[in-house]
Subunit: 300 residues, 2 copies
DNA sequence: ACTTTCTTTGTAGGCTGCCTACATGGACGT
DNA sequence: ACGTCCATGTAGGCAGCCTACAAAGAAAGT
């Protein structure tokens, strides 16, 4: 029972196509295809079957892919114990994080890890809430967010909750509402909004406002980038939902908490179980947790 | 982290020398030595150090060897699940058993497994009690015996108790003691004995007799083979300790239970944890257990 | 002290297996 | 019907692992 064959099946299960596996493992599709046939010969059973333009695993292939996950965990534990023995958690830890969370987490993490021989490679990632989980196949740690505290996750991933961040209402400093300490759904429902694309967590605040008032709000723009949203808010009479920890830099935009409903997002880390075994990965995860904890008291 | 390297270190830990690993894995010592250096390059640390004529693992090497055991278990579980999925536990199961236990267990086991695609390869093995455990590196299942119920075993082996077998006193059919239903230590202590080498479980009966009478018995011969012991007993006035389940075939030797002290041996199976995961191995182990259970009621 | 023996290690060379490059064929969408 | 995308087949190159042989070091016997 060859570990390489198991790993191949696991990759194929995760990525769904020969070409995807090939690019992920830096090989040609031909090589992957040959390895597949070699695996089928070794196991003595068909492991893939044609499916439309591509192919998919048979039941037999999925059984082996599931076992491959356990083997990967055992192997990662071995590596973790080895790092432990050598007293050093080192290596490259790849991170994919939504930009607004990375903004308030990453500087602290890098400061905390300054003395460790760990290189953190962070990519920012701004996708719909449901799409974050899929990124664990390409990154050690995925920092995601959700309106709910415990998002769905698969069998071989683990989720660590980092912090709940309040979502406030941003408006121009000269906006009529800016004189208030806090704003209510009724204050907001008739104003023009700078919103986010459908499926993004901030949208839950808009839905809650609509729920509370029984009326629809007027979403004029749907943008992902918070700095862009700020600029739009600062330049006009729009309001927008913005996370509190990355408060606007300039003086022309202010944040006001939303009264009457609990508006917040949960920021958490998603890891694949085998990757989570690595000592360096745990170290980064702990740093994320402790940096996030510094923000927790302010969560109100 | 290469699985082959881990397996190599594990083998080296188990067998203690490059040449032993080489013969066990059907390679030349040169190949093993080269792989060791390759592993040291890969792990970036010395894994072996010279020790007398041979060499031994460093602490680092032992850490990796320990992890290798866990990886081996995960891999064996994968194989077990694969067999499960295909609905067939097949393959070769190698058995090493002490002859007197194999005599009453193996026929039943082979009968029970007649319809299974499992080939049982049994070697008989007659060594001192402490030496059985070492055989697990070469066989899937080792059937051993001991005077005590739960013998010592290492971290990565499991032990399953099979049956307690009474040990009786054998004597010629015409022996004066043969008229008795049972014999006592006092009856035996002055007779010439056919014993076993030191360290063999039957010797515990001699020790118990000496303990009970306060006198030493006269051991004339020390033989391993029970048939040979029978022949010696049948031909003279000697007595011998023999297990009950493999009763003498002929009419010229009879068995009499020993009164006044609990004389028995425990027969059990020893397995390495990774080998124990294999479905075919479990099947054979279960067959051993059920065959042994048929003898248990007679254990009195 | 010398030799024998057992062990590990080095070197050269062959073989196997994996991968790339390129070409082919099937399935889907336009 | 065509282009596109995906998987697969073939030929050849390259690396890695192994064997055969030679050599060196350490222990034990003479």
């Amino acid at each position: 029972m060859d570990v390489r064959h198991l790993e191949l099946l696991r990759e194929l299960d995760d990525r769904g196509s020969v070409t995807a596996v090939a690019t992920a493992t830096h090989r040609t599709p031909s090589a992957v295809s040959q390895q597949l046939r070699s695996a089928e010969r070794a196991f003595g059973a068909p492991l893939v079957e044609p499916r439309g333009r591509g192919l998919r695993l048979t039941d037999a292939g999925r059984v082996l892919a599931a076992s491959a996950r356990d083997v990967a965990v055992a192997l990662a534990q071995a590596e973790a114990r080895w790092d432990e023995f050598r007293g050093r958690a080192s290596g490259v830890v790849s991170l994919a994080a939504l930009p607004s969370a990375a903004t308030f987490l990453l500087p602290g993490v890098l400061r905390e890890l300054a003395d460790d021989p760990i290189e953190v490679v962070c990519t920012d990632l701004d996708v719909a809430e449901a799409a974050y989980a899929a990124e664990v196949v390409d990154h050690d740690i995925v920092v995601a967010h959700s309106a709910i505290r415990t998002p769905a996750h698969t069998e071989d991933t683990v989720v660590r909750h980092l912090v709940r961040e309040p979502l406030d209402i941003a408006m121009a400093a000269g906006h009529p509402l800016a004189v208030l300490d806090r704003v209510t759904p009724d204050d907001l429902v008739d104003l023009p909004w700078v919103g986010v694309p459908l499926g993004y967590p901030f949208d839950s605040v808009r839905l809650a406002v609509e729920e509370a008032t029984g009326r629809g709000v007027d979403v004029r723009q749907r943008v992902r980038d918070n700095r862009l949203a700020e600029a739009l808010v600062g330049a006009g009479d729009h309001v927008a939902v913005l996370p509190r920890f990355t408060a606007p830099a300039g003086d022309d935009v202010v944040l006001r908490p939303l009264a009457g409903l609990a508006s917040g997002r949960h920021v958490f880390a998603i890891l694949r179980k085998d990757r989570a075994e690595r000592r360096a990965v745990r170290r980064v995860l702990d740093a994320l947790t402790s940096v996030a904890a510094e923000f927790a008291p302010a969560a109100g």
